[in-house]
């Protein structure tokens, strides 16, 4: 039995999946029969089918950690690191293959909002049903009913079947139920990735309340700023293992700087480039962080470097190589070319054939958090466009440490500059 001030204790938890068991959704009897027949066949031929380890993957291995009561723990890792599996094991949706764990108190999970919502039922009916599914008692739900409805902002449609709701209304209602569940341990997986900016702000605020009210929170997110705001400690997961357990700021730095996020680099094969591009041939585009590491996830407060490698198969006059920067919603942020400056424009009126790299640095404190898209363009103005790819590469910007991140709210807009402010008192009353 664990100490009484601990809320979660995990010792050597591992989860093994059979490869194919999760992807191959429609195992049929025929598959089973043919597989059995194949096995019998090969054993008759004397081949022993002992590729047991090869048929399995460990989604989690030897995971150890503990969480004190009232603590909010962040779980960071790229896709496939085992975060979701860990949450599933902790919320008892799936059994661990090995290891041991203890949880003190009721566990509520927001693995996905709207779990168990039925389209034919009305908003009112779904609140009752969803509450029961999330482990609330009828009395608790009824006591909080009005609060839930008010939070969701769907009062007028509460007796309408939810299949007639807009997706926004549906999400608001679903989150409202989940947010008013009051378990001792709350497990949250990326719920904030949904809804419009206003609603996200509301959700984040609610999450902050929960974390501040002395309940234990496990929080998984790709949003490093949210992790920093809502959690004190974080663990970094990679390939099913815990790499680090540290105060969140340290863990986030470790995660971002270690380049655990997947590589921000794109290469062009010869057959991917249209013949019409000749004499320009793109080779690669990449994003580099402050230390010169190729990275998919860079920080707003550090310089971001963009490199474009290309080959010219003949001399080209008036060539400019550059990029468009878009948000993932397609709004243009800015456009920049390598010979934008007066000096370079004069120096590179013509480029002899050869292999080049055009390198650009976006100064610190330029971009806001979010995901961005780079489009590449190579042209000679007024003469010819050689090559264009509007979706050459995407990358994420993390705003931790940027101006205003001490408030738990996402800021609209693609840029987040450091601006000069002065406050002056014009006398007192």
């Amino acid at each position: 039995m664990m100490d009484s001030d601990l809320s979660i204790l995990v010792r050597g938890i591992g989860k093994r999946y059979k490869i194919g068991a999760t992807q191959q959704r429609t195992d049929t009897l025929r598959d089973l029969i043919t597989a059995q027949a194949a096995r019998i066949g090969s054993s008759l031929r004397g081949k022993n089918h002992r590729s047991d380890e090869a048929d399995h993957i460990w989604a989690l291995r030897d995971v150890n950690f503990e969480v004190k009561r009232g603590q909010a723990l962040g779980i960071i890792g790229r896709n496939g690191a085992g975060k979701s599996t860990l949450l599933k094991v902790l919320s008892r949706v799936t059994d661990p293959t090995e290891g041991y764990g203890e949880l003190r108190g009721r566990v509520g999970s927001l693995l996905e909002v709207g779990t168990g919502f039925h389209p034919e039922l009305t908003g009112r009916e779904n609140i009752l049903l969803n509450g029961a599914i999330l482990g609330m008692h009828k009395k608790e739900i009824e006591a909080r009913f009005d609060e839930i409805v008010a939070f969701s902002e769907v009062e007028k449609f509460i007796d309408t079947p939810v299949k007639r709701y807009s997706s926004g209304m549906y999400l608001r209602l679903a989150f409202a139920v989940a947010a008013h569940l009051e378990p001792e341990i709350l497990v949250v997986d990326e719920v904030l990735a949904v809804g419009d900016a206003d609603f996200q702000r509301k959700c984040l605020g609610k999450m902050g309340d929960v974390a501040n009210s002395g309940r234990t929170v496990l929080f998984v997110s790709h949003n490093m700023s949210a992790i920093l705001r809502l959690t004190q400690d974080s663990i970094v997961l990679d390939k099913g293992k815990v790499l680090l357990r540290a105060p969140s700021s340290e863990a986030v730095d470790f995660y971002l700087n270690r380049g655990l996020s997947k590589l921000g680099e794109r290469f062009w094969e010869e057959d991917e480039v249209p013949v019409s591009s000749v004499p320009f041939r793109p080779l690669a585009i990449r994003i580099l962080d402050k230390t010169g590491q190729v990275s998919d996830s860079v920080r707003s407060v550090e310089p971001i470097r963009i490199e474009i490698d290309y080959e010219l198969t003949e001399d080209v006059t008036g060539l400019r190589v550059g990029y468009y920067l878009f948000t993932t919603r397609g709004e243009p942020v800015f456009t920049s070319f390598d010979i934008d400056s007066e000096e370079l424009f004069k120096e590179y009126t013509a480029r002899p054939k050869g292999i080049y790299t055009s390198r650009c640095t976006i100064p610190p404190d330029t971009l806001n958090e979010g995901r961005f898209l780079l489009g590449i363009n190579a042209s000679s103005y007024g003469i010819r466009r050689y090559f264009q790819d509007d979706q050459a590469l995407s990358f994420s910007v993390d705003a931790s440490g940027a101006p205003g991140t001490h408030w738990p709210e996402p800021r609209p807009g693609p840029v987040r500059p450091v601006l000069g402010w002065e406050i002056e008192q014009k006398g007192s009353t």
Partner: protein, 281 residues
């Protein structure tokens, strides 16, 4: 699956791999009784949504089936009916049969149909097939009115033995649950099951004395083997409870034993399989 100590103030839940065969945790099931209620309620609510006739279907279905059977078997084929008017004979068997059939249809696909719940939230998995069986019970109670109406029309007197309907209903619910546990768990892994169920139900119906009287089956060993079908005891018992005649005696005993074996094995099988539900569904 994890065991929860639900009584202590600070419940401690243990996570560890489960090994071997586990029984059902009744205490935990009791703790989740509200969820059983809500899922049952959902199934009932949803079944006749956006149907003009709504819950009237639970009465119409047995009426229509009785009409068809009376025409085909009673009038055209002149199947004997224990001296009862054929519609009464058929209806008294069809009511418990409809209960069984609907429960089986719904419960066998229940786990797959609730995959989003299985992969997101913890609760004792057995609640899902259980609540789909319970939802069918409501239809049954409504349709039971039909039988009383029919008896009044044919002026058949009501006796105390009608009370036997209660344990007999329970038996057919348990029979459906038992088979439902097996089939729903198998269906998670092998979707062939849901293709098979309609045929299974068809065969099962003809292996039950619904359109023909049980006296068609020769007495002795053969009748005993025949009674291994739990619905034989239930249907026979229903006819006896309403109209008297030969009591179900050995038939009912054998049928009850068969249900018990199916139910216990079904529960163990279900518990054995449930730890992989979330991973394979």
């Amino acid at each position: 699956m994890a065991e929860a100590n639900l009584n202590s103030a600070a419940q401690v839940v243990t996570l560890k791999p489960t090994k071997g065969w586990l029984g059902i945790d009744l205490k935990e099931l009791w703790h989740y009784r509200e969820l059983i209620y809500f899922l049952t309620w959902r199934d009932i609510k949803v079944r006749y949504k956006q149907a003009v006739l709504g819950i009237a279907w639970s009465v119409l279905q047995p009426v229509l089936t009785t009409a068809i059977m009376t025409v085909v078997f009673g009038i055209l084929l002149k199947v004997e009916s224990d001296g009862l008017p054929y519609p009464v004979f058929a209806l008294s068997a069809l009511l418990p049969w409809h209960l069984f059939q609907l429960s089986l249809q719904k419960s066998s696909i229940s786990l797959v149909g609730n995959a989003n719940l299985l992969t997101k939230v913890y609760f004792p998995r057995v609640i899902i097939p259980l609540s789909s069986v319970l939802a069918a019970l409501v239809d049954f109670f409504i349709s039971l009115v039909l039988l009383f109406i029919t008896m009044a029309i044919y002026k058949i007197p009501l006796t105390w033995s009608v009370l036997w309907v209660i344990p007999l209903t329970l038996l057919s619910v348990l029979a459906a649950l038992a088979v439902g546990l097996w089939l729903s768990a198998l269906n998670v892994q092998y979707r062939d099951v849901q293709q098979m169920v309609p045929f299974l139900i068809q065969i099962w119906m003809y292996a039950t004395p619904i359109v023909y009287p049980i006296t068609t089956i020769p007495e002795g060993t053969f009748r005993y083997i025949y009674s291994l079908n739990p619905m034989v005891g239930v249907v026979q018992g229903f006819r006896w409870a309403f109209f008297g005649g030969s009591p179900p005696d050995m038939t009912l005993l054998i049928s009850s034993l068969a249900v018990l074996v199916l139910l216990v094995s079904g529960l163990f099988f279900f518990r054995r399989m449930e730890k992989t539900f979330a991973d394979v569904v």
